[in-house]
């Protein structure tokens, strides 16, 4: 594939490298060990890539068939304003989110897992760089009094992380979060990037394929350690058990589902030629994909525990344990991981503040429901302000003091602030309709 590589002007490029030295201090370690961990793979480089030869025409919506826009000035002013907000917010969150993984990076038990997460973080830095490139490469004066240069300076001078995340951040509690986040939340990112590669704004669309190739690695940085942990758990390891993994899945999956936006929305993006699928459709594909991931993890467990079994026999054991909930050849239902119900622990979208249990069972009592959630979530997360805020809102909804829709609007949402790469790092907790970078992602609201 033909790719154009560019750098942003020297002084901004240097500013990014300086930012990296401060916020990604392990970068040198990554590069020193690159060839050992990633032999034959091109070394990481801070630069912007544009995929050449993408589709020339707008691919869906009202302007379908017209040439894609190459300059912001040619867009409808409202669309251009939205796009600019999306790129700015995206840039700041890509940079800011690197700090989220940094919290627990040092706690990895395995150097390989750690270096993979580190590479993913460096690639998120490149995603930020990619967005800066979009800001500097076009003239945005049609929609903003702030010049591209000023916007970039603003983004790089933000000590992103702390103030953007504020009290609404869901912190990582252990390295299991790093991996599970990549496996589940970067997976949402993959969907969004995939959808945005049809964007009517050509430079944005051209930015997506290289980011998608990196995203494939981000998924692996999550799924590969999860597989190993399941295999080790099957052999009796006490370090990371399947119960630990289950609780972290329960913590993130509901947030991942909500990142697709309200199940009833998404039509406007399709009409604008910005995305090819409505929210519920994309969310459903995602949920099915996670179901497959869960089954794969369980197969790893079964085959590690019972290596003498052939494929068919192992599948039969897994099916029986899951369907009958009984121990088969020493493997119990609780030894495996399971997909939480789509309505479990939701605070946005159609099932917001429903008292729906992990297996889809209905609860009539808030206290019983909170006890149920407590039993299914990681201990450290239960002690977080995020969980407390949710619990308080849930009581208000149950007492009829507020509606679920109103409460949902007030809950911080793990949403893609902006439009570009919605993977791990572009994800921020934002309260209500507020946004970190000024660009609300419509579909995330109830």
């Amino acid at each position: 594939m033909a790719i154009a590589k560019t750098h942003i002007p020297r002084k901004f490029h240097d500013a990014v490298l300086k930012w990296r030295d401060v916020f990604l201090p392990d970068y040198g370690f990554l590069m020193d060990n690159w060839d050992r961990h990633f032999p034959r793979e091109p070394r990481f480089e801070a630069c912007a890539y544009r995929e050449l030869g993408i589709c020339d025409e707008i691919e869906c919506g009202d302007l379908k068939g017209r040439p894609k826009f190459t300059r912001a000035a040619d867009l409808d002013p409202e669309q251009a304003g939205h796009l600019l907000g999306a790129i700015r917010a995206q840039a700041s969150t890509e940079f800011g989110s690197i700090q989220q993984h940094r919290l627990t990076l040092a706690r990895a038990q395995d150097e390989k897992d750690q270096v993979w997460i580190l590479r993913m973080m460096a690639e998120e830095l490149r995603h930020g760089y990619q967005m800066l490139h979009l800001l500097l490469d076009d003239d945005w004066s049609c929609v903003s009094d702030t010049s591209g240069e000023q916007m970039v300076e603003e983004i790089l001078s933000m000590t992103t992380g702390s103030h953007v995340l504020g009290a609404f951040n869901i912190d990582f509690d252990s390295f299991v979060d790093n991996a599970t986040f990549c496996a589940l939340i970067d997976r949402v990112g993959k969907y969004q990037l995939e959808m945005q590669r049809i964007s009517a704004y050509r430079p944005f669309a051209e930015s997506m394929p290289p980011m998608l190739r990196e995203e494939a690695f981000h998924l692996a940085a999550g799924v590969v350690p999860l597989r190993r942990w399941m295999e080790r758990a099957a052999l009796g390891s006490h370090y990371i058990t399947s119960a630990d993994i289950q609780k972290v899945i329960n913590k993130w999956l509901p947030r991942g589902l909500e990142m697709f936006g309200d199940e009833r929305g998404g039509g406007t993006n399709v009409r604008y030629g910005l995305k090819p699928m409505k929210n519920a459709e994309a969310q459903d594909l995602y949920y099915r994909e996670v179901e497959k991931l869960v089954r794969d993890l369980n197969m790893r467990f079964v085959r590690a525990r019972l290596p003498e079994l052939k494929l068919r026999e192992a599948e039969a054991v897994l099916d029986e344990v899951v369907a009958e909930r009984k121990a088969v050849q020493g493997i119990r239902w609780e030894d495996l991981v399971h997909l939480p119900h789509k309505h479990f622990f939701r605070r946005r979208g159609v099932p917001a503040f429903e008292l729906t249990g992990w297996e889809g069972e209905a609860f009539a009592d808030v206290d019983l429901y909170l006890a149920h959630l407590s039993a299914h979530l990681p201990d450290a997360y239960r002690a977080s302000s995020d969980f407390r805020d949710y619990g308080e809102k849930l009581r208000e909804v149950a007492a009829g003091e507020t509606t679920a829709a109103e409460a949902a609007r007030e809950m911080p949402a793990l949403r893609r602030v902006g439009g570009a790469c919605p993977c791990s790092k572009s994800v921020r907790w934002v309260a209500g309709n507020g946004t970190a970078g000024g660009a609300a992602e419509g579909p995330a609201a109830v």
Partner: protein
């Protein structure tokens, strides 16, 4: 599975196909090699996630084909599509699934600017050679040489 009218769908490879592909390989080669396939799929996904394909029959993965476009190899300067690894579930062979995978991959190679598609077939694997012949491939003017090092 044996329903001749069942619907075949060809789609790009995804990371969650690993389990199914490992299973297909096990059916074909008789060995469970999850780590080999994890590495392999990782490579192709990272290089070009759209180039490699799987075939689904009624939603179940029954075949796969891995490949990519490269240039500059063996002195071949022009962009060349390479079909590198493939497999079809023995239970559904002979139903044009391999043919459809190849057709989709060739379309993709063309769209990527490749003017030639190449593959290497072990002389002992006669079925595969016949498969490619049926698809219009001809022996190329490159002779592979090898030498045992141990």
């Amino acid at each position: 599975m044996s329903d001749e009218t069942a619907e075949v769908r060809i789609r790009p490879l995804q990371d969650t196909d690993l389990g199914d592909i490992t299973g297909l390989d096990e059916k074909i080669a008789g060995e469970y090699r999850p780590d080999v396939w994890e590495l392999r799929l990782g490579y192709y996904m990272r290089r070009d996630p759209d180039a490699s394909l799987v075939a689904e029959l009624d939603g179940a993965v029954v075949g796969f084909m891995l490949g990519e476009v490269r240039s500059g190899e063996f002195g071949l300067e022009e962009p060349t599509g390479w079909i590198e690894v493939m497999g079809v579930d023995p239970e559904v062979r002979g139903r044009s699934i391999g043919r459809r995978l190849a057709a989709a991959m060739l379309d993709y190679f063309r769209a990527r600017g490749a003017t030639t598609v190449r593959t290497l077939v072990d002389r002992d694997m006669e079925g595969i050679a016949q498969f490619f012949t049926a698809l219009g491939f001809e022996p190329a003017g490159l002779t592979p040489f090898s030498k045992k090092l141990a």
